[in-house]
């Protein structure tokens, strides 16, 4: 699976491209070459992961793909003649298209299956621990645990749709909801506790 950093790799070429328009010719040439290198790095990485079997899952293979892509991109960037800005833009677009094409349903299936195996990566378990420490078992199981359950389900739905930013948004939204519920429940639980203590007094 392509890491998020690969997507962000598109950012430096774009910045370099913008810089080349405002800087003088020498700097423009260097920045374009650097941008070409970064785009080639991304393109090679995507291609290698696409065609090397098993690179989606295994950490070692991912690192191998990274290293091979780095070497290939460096050689290509040095060997290629100076590329005009249009060429640079095309390279970036092709690299971006390859990146999107790589995100096939089969990879999503692998990700979902991997998530199913590892509950540890689901958000909300720390919040659940806080809830268990602060509130009674009944309040935790009927009010706060369902919030975390819904958070996890909506989060997984967003990931299954490949919408990483939506997943972040869902997480933030549910975290806010969790603390809202804690704020709403605390006075009620405090009154119940005080009332129980009052009744327990001789």
């Amino acid at each position: 699976m392509i890491r998020r950093s690969a997507l962000f790799a598109q950012l430096p070429p774009a910045i370099a491209l913008a810089g080349s328009w405002v800087a003088d010719r020498a700097l423009a040439s260097a920045s374009v070459r650097f941008a070409v290198f970064l785009s080639l790095l991304l393109a090679c990485n995507v291609l290698l992961r696409q065609f090397l079997p098993g690179t989606s899952d295994r950490k070692l293979d991912r690192k191998t793909a990274d290293i091979l892509a780095g070497i290939a991109a460096l050689i290509l960037a040095l060997l290629l003649p100076p590329i005009p800005l249009l060429g640079m833009m095309l390279t970036t677009v092709v690299a971006g298209a390859l990146f999107l094409a790589h995100r096939t349903p089969s990879n999503e299936r692998i990700r979902r299956e991997s998530l199913k195996k590892r509950n540890l990566y689901l958000p909300g378990f720390k919040l659940l621990a806080i809830a268990k420490a602060l509130f009674s078992d009944k309040t935790t199981s009927t009010i706060l645990e369902p919030i975390i359950s819904d958070l996890q389900h909506e989060y997984l739905e967003a990931l299954a749709e490949c919408r990483v930013w939506k997943a972040y948004y869902v997480r933030a939204r549910w975290y806010w909801s969790f603390w809202s519920a804690v704020a709403a429940q605390t006075p009620l639980s405090a009154v119940r506790l005080l009332s129980a203590l009052w009744r327990a007094l001789p």
């Binding site: 998530l115 199913k116 509950n119 689901l122 909300g124 659940l128 309040t139 199981s141 009927t142 009010i143 706060l144 645990e145 369902p146 919030i147 975390i148 359950s149 819904d150 996890q152 389900h153 909506e154 997984l156 939204r173 549910w174 806010w176 909801s177 969790f178 603390w179 809202s180 519920a181 709403a184 429940q185 009620l188």
Partner: protein, 98 residues
């Protein structure tokens, strides 16, 4: 029961949903009426309604489903009767005013 059962606007809305659509979990309710129910307060309201005996709940874990099990809520017989009585009272009041 000596006291007259009371229903807040949100409680009435939740009971109406549960009576019309059967078992639901909190997120489903919020998605059905997004402006009236909020993610942060729906379960607090449901917890209060469970204390009053209007709803009861059960955990539902689907096989192979990652994460914590969902909690499904449904209206109890008492909840349904309170809702119907409330609706009758509301209708009578509206008719009386008109």
């Amino acid at each position: 029961m000596d006291e007259i059962p009371r229903l807040s606007r949100k409680e009435r809305l939740i009971l109406e949903l549960l009576i019309n659509q059967g078992e639901m979990y909190g997120l489903e309710m919020v998605k059905t009426v997004p402006h009236d129910l909020k993610r942060g307060t729906v379960y607090v309201t449901l917890g209060r309604m469970a204390d009053k005996g209007y709803v009861d709940s059960r955990q539902a874990k689907e096989p192979g489903d990652p994460g914590l099990p969902k909690r499904l809520f449904r209206a109890t017989g008492h909840g349904q009767r309170v809702f119907q009585a409330w609706e009758l009272a509301r209708t009578a009041m509206v008719e009386g005013l008109v």
